[in-house]
């Protein structure tokens, strides 16, 4: 059962996250943060992080390009996490059974919000004719309403009334239809592959394929080594009581730093050739020196 205050907080967050994504883009509108928030509110942070991470990876390459609607992984994460914790469905199964279907249905409400705002755009035209500055600003800010409501209404309704249905579903998946429950859990584990493939389509893979191999191989080797050491450590600790060292898994941040080093080398090389005036047009020499301040702001 989901308490009313939990529904209230999660519904408010559902409204906040879309405004955040449109405006300041603070990463508090990411699926992994949505999972964290919902997990904390529902009392199981770990489950929330698991579901959020899966959805984060699934939509890794799906950006909002040119105002196209994309699947709403955040709302999917909120509902999947809340129901997974309240009904005892396995997090990995909840990703495939709840988060993905919800996320794709919510494309429709996104489209609705973008249509609704056309109404306010016409109101603003009228205010411009009347020199009504306050009116322009009022109708512009009112645009936040369709955006927020397009997330809050479906999420709030689902949280309030969907519990019984999901509880039944969870029971069936854990018992008589266990094959389906296991299958959905497997699907949840495979889904991140879609996010990676989308991202690869978006990146110049053919040009940089060597880095793809490097990233894969370096990480695969290290993760195998780290994984084996962890297994060994756990086994030894089980036998010898004096063995208290615990081994951590592979740090993704360290892998990212290796990748960053490759990128930095490539950046230095390409700016060095440009500043030397080797390629293309004539007036590049002064440009490279004057622009120090802009380069510092990035990354």
């Amino acid at each position: 059962m989901i308490a009313w205050w939990q529904i209230a907080i999660l519904t408010l967050y559902a409204g906040y996250q879309i405004l955040d994504e449109l405006q300041i883009y603070s990463a508090m509108s990411s699926p992994v943060f949505a999972g964290l928030v919902t997990g904390l509110v529902m009392g199981d942070m770990r489950a929330g992080l698991l579901i959020g991470a899966s959805m984060q990876l699934t939509v890794l390459g799906v950006g909002t390009f040119g105002g196209a609607s994309r699947i709403d992984a955040n709302s999917g994460t909120i509902l999947a996490t809340a129901f997974s914790i309240s009904s005892g469905m396995k997090p990995a199964a909840a990703v495939a059974a709840i988060a993905v279907p919800v996320a794709s249905i919510m494309i429709q409400t996104d489209i609705l919000a973008r249509f609704a705002n056309t109404f306010f755009a016409h109101k603003i035209d009228k205010m411009v004719d009347e020199y009504n500055y306050k009116g322009i600003e009022r109708y512009f800010i009112a645009g936040a309403l369709p955006w927020a409501l397009s997330r809050m209404i479906p999420v709030g309704l689902a949280l309030a009334f969907g519990g019984g249905f999901v509880a039944n579903l969870a029971r069936v998946l854990n018992t008589s239809w266990k094959w389906l429950g296991d299958g959905l859990a497997t699907a949840g584990a495979v889904l991140p592959a879609v996010g990676f493939a989308i991202l690869l389509h978006y990146l110049p893979v053919k040009k940089h394929f060597a880095y793809l191999i490097l990233g894969f191989t370096v990480t695969m080797l290290f993760s195998t080594v780290f994984g084996n050491i962890q297994t060994l450590g756990t086994a030894v600790a089980g036998v010898a009581k004096t063995f208290t060292t615990s081994f951590n898994g592979l740090s993704m941040l360290a892998i990212a730093l290796i990748g960053f080093a490759f990128a930095a080398i490539a950046y230095q090389q390409s700016t060095a050739t440009n500043a030397g005036g080797g390629s293309g047009s004539s007036d590049k020499k002064p440009a490279a020196d004057e622009k120090g301040e802009i380069e510092d702001d990035e990354l």
Binding site: I24, A27, M28, V32, F33, G35, L49, L50, Q56, G61, G67, A96, V100, R114, F115, T118, F120, A121, I124, V128, I141, G143, A144, W179, D182, G183, A185, T186, A189, V190, L191, P192, F196, A197, I198, L200, Y202, P204, F209, Y211, L212, G215, F216, T219, S223, T224, G249, M252, I255, A256, G259, F260, F262, Y267, N274, K291, E295, D297, E298, L299
Partner: protein
């Protein structure tokens, strides 16, 4: 009141702060299918337009109408265009209308594609991957690392308005080759990270163990001897191919993968690792 044709108002620090505040917290609230960020552009600079042209003047109405026209660019770069725009309008007033309208239409497309690729795809991919990786181990710190990175991006967004205002259109040419180098470097890191993610974040294995004679053959173990994580690599390659097919969208691909995975799992071929 409106005796002079060229405006006399000079923008000051308060104006820049106000534009940045409105851009960062309000630019896309009015996004709609008809003119996309059109009303957002006007909202961002409305107070400054009023100061430049004066309340109630026909010039002001003319420019307000110009600025509600169709506009769509990356919301990480929009104030660069705003900065160049205001530098022109402040100097030339209503005479700059055509220049401004042309400049907006000319720059919005290229800034949209650079901005989308760096800020809407690459940075979320890299930091999202780190955050997700830590999250699967129950550790929320990665999320906060990402938030810190986004705050750095916000600082960048805040600063570019002033630079664009000072340098004007010249900025675009001086920026372009640096941006190209930066995009190239960022895509290298992106590709590298995807390789790393394939090796760590897809936890499936072969469950199929056919009997050879009386001995069950552990396929996963045999594969590990050739190359660990071969199955995840093959899955990503397969989906990559799938996405290149006609009429394929990311949402469809997600559902196809979902159904195929359930079927293969039910048949006992693959299992969660």
């Amino acid at each position: 009141m409106m005796n002079s044709k060229t405006p006399t108002y000079k923008l000051n620090d308060d104006d820049f702060r106000q534009i940045n505040r409105r851009s960062l917290f309000g630019f896309q609230l009015g996004w709609n299918y008809e003119r996309m960020q059109g009303s957002g552009y006007l909202y961002t600079i409305l107070p400054q337009l009023r100061k430049i042209y004066g309340d109630g003047t026909p010039e002001l109405k003319e420019m307000m109408k110009t600025h509600t026209q169709f506009f769509n660019t990356s919301n990480f770069f929009n104030t660069i265009i705003t900065g160049i725009d205001l530098a022109v309008e402040e100097k030339e007033g209503i005479k700059g209308e055509e220049t401004v309208a042309g400049m907006k239409a000319g720059l919005m497309g290229s800034f949209a594609s650079i901005g989308d690729s760096i800020f809407a795809a690459l940075i979320p991919a890299i930091f999202g991957a780190i955050a997700a990786n830590m999250a699967t181990k129950g550790n929320p710190i990665g999320v906060f690392i990402w938030i810190l990175a986004q705050i750095a991006v916000m600082v960048f967004r805040w600063k570019q308005l002033r630079v664009a205002y000072n340098e004007g259109v010249a900025l675009v040419t001086t920026m372009s080759h640096r941006l190209a180098a930066l995009t190239n470097a960022a895509t290298i890191m992106g590709v590298f990270m995807v390789g790393a993610l394939v090796a760590t974040m897809i936890n499936v294995k072969f469950a199929w163990a056919p009997n050879v004679g009386s001995v069950p053959l552990d396929i996963q173990n045999s594969l590990d001897m050739i190359l660990p994580k071969l199955l995840p690599a093959l899955i990503v390659a397969g989906i990559y191919w799938l996405l290149g097919r006609k009429h394929m969208t990311s949402t469809r691909a997600i559902f196809i993968v979902l159904i195929v995975s359930v079927v293969l799992s039910a048949l006992g071929l693959i299992a969660k690792g």
